[in-house]
Amino acid sequence: MILWWIGDLVLLAVVLPVVVYLLRGVLDAAKSIVPSVQEIAGAAAAGSKDLDAAALLLTTQDQVTQTVAGVANYGGSLDVILDDA
């Protein structure tokens, strides 16, 4: 009988607080992850939106090609007009 009461006492005084402590730690850790995940999701969405202009790089590529071609034509003309050093 005494052992039973000791067991009850241990259950209430030791096991229950330990279980609550451990579960509370897991819950706090899970709660701390949520804001970080939401921030990451927001940053990823913003990054995706920023990359909407990446398609314009194709236009930039075409313009650079045309510009360099114009410079090459201009340089070829200068090469014909000017004497070498």
Partner: protein, 207 residues
């Protein structure tokens, strides 16, 4: 009766303790499940956005590489043309004149360019001389010396430019023609014309 009551009391306390533990487990585990569902939802949004980023940035590498190749070709062309036409020394001087300190970096395709001493191009040539000199020996400015050195002579650039003008002082003659003497004591006197200062006989514009 007392032992039975004692057994019942001990059993009730055990059941109460077990019940409390179960309640705590249920409460905290449900809370953890709710948080994990939020995390799952957030990660799903993140994965969607990251997938979009990957999809949108896929062609960037090739496009930027192509742009860099085109610009490299343009830089090589302009550097080569500049060095070919102006010479290494003047080319370095021109670049350094436009961007002070750029001569230290030199040209990419000319390893000797960083060690070339850049002339102070603004002092060697005036702007007009430089422009005309670039036109070649057939240009009017160089007509006086078609077989001579090009005007891009860095060391004698100033003299070469001076030789383009009429011969008066370049060869440093012993004596130049004296300036004319004017005034009442001048050796040569001219009669004063009466018509100077007088009213016009016929106004311009009348027929």
């Amino acid at each position: 009766m007392a032992p039975v009551f004692a057994f019942a009391a001990a059993g009730a306390v055990t059941i109460l303790a077990a019940g409390l533990i179960v309640v705590a487990l249920v409460y905290y585990l449900i809370s953890v499940i709710v948080q994990l569902r939020k995390i799952t939802a957030g990660l799903a949004e993140t994965i969607t956005s990251v997938s979009e980023i990957v999809q949108k940035s896929a062609p960037v590498n090739d496009v930027v590489t192509t742009i860099n190749q085109q610009l490299d070709a343009g830089v090589d062309l302009l550097e080569g043309l500049l060095v070919k036409k102006a010479g290494m020394t003047d080319a370095v001087g021109l670049v350094d004149g436009m961007y002070a300190g750029a001569a230290a970096a030199g040209f990419r395709n000319f390893p000797e360019s960083p060690s070339t001493k850049a002339p102070r191009i603004g002092e060697v040539y005036t702007r007009g001389t430089l422009t005309l000199a670039r036109l070649g020996r057939e240009a009017p400015i160089a007509a006086g010396n078609p077989a001579g050195p090009a005007l891009r002579d860095v060391e004698r650039g100033s003299l070469a430019a001076r030789l383009l003008y009429p011969e008066i002082r370049q060869t440093m003659p012993k004596s130049l023609a004296r300036s004319p003497v004017i005034g009442t004591d001048a050796p040569v006197q001219y009669e004063q014309r009466d018509d100077i200062g007088a009213p016009r006989k016929r106004l311009p514009g009348r027929v």
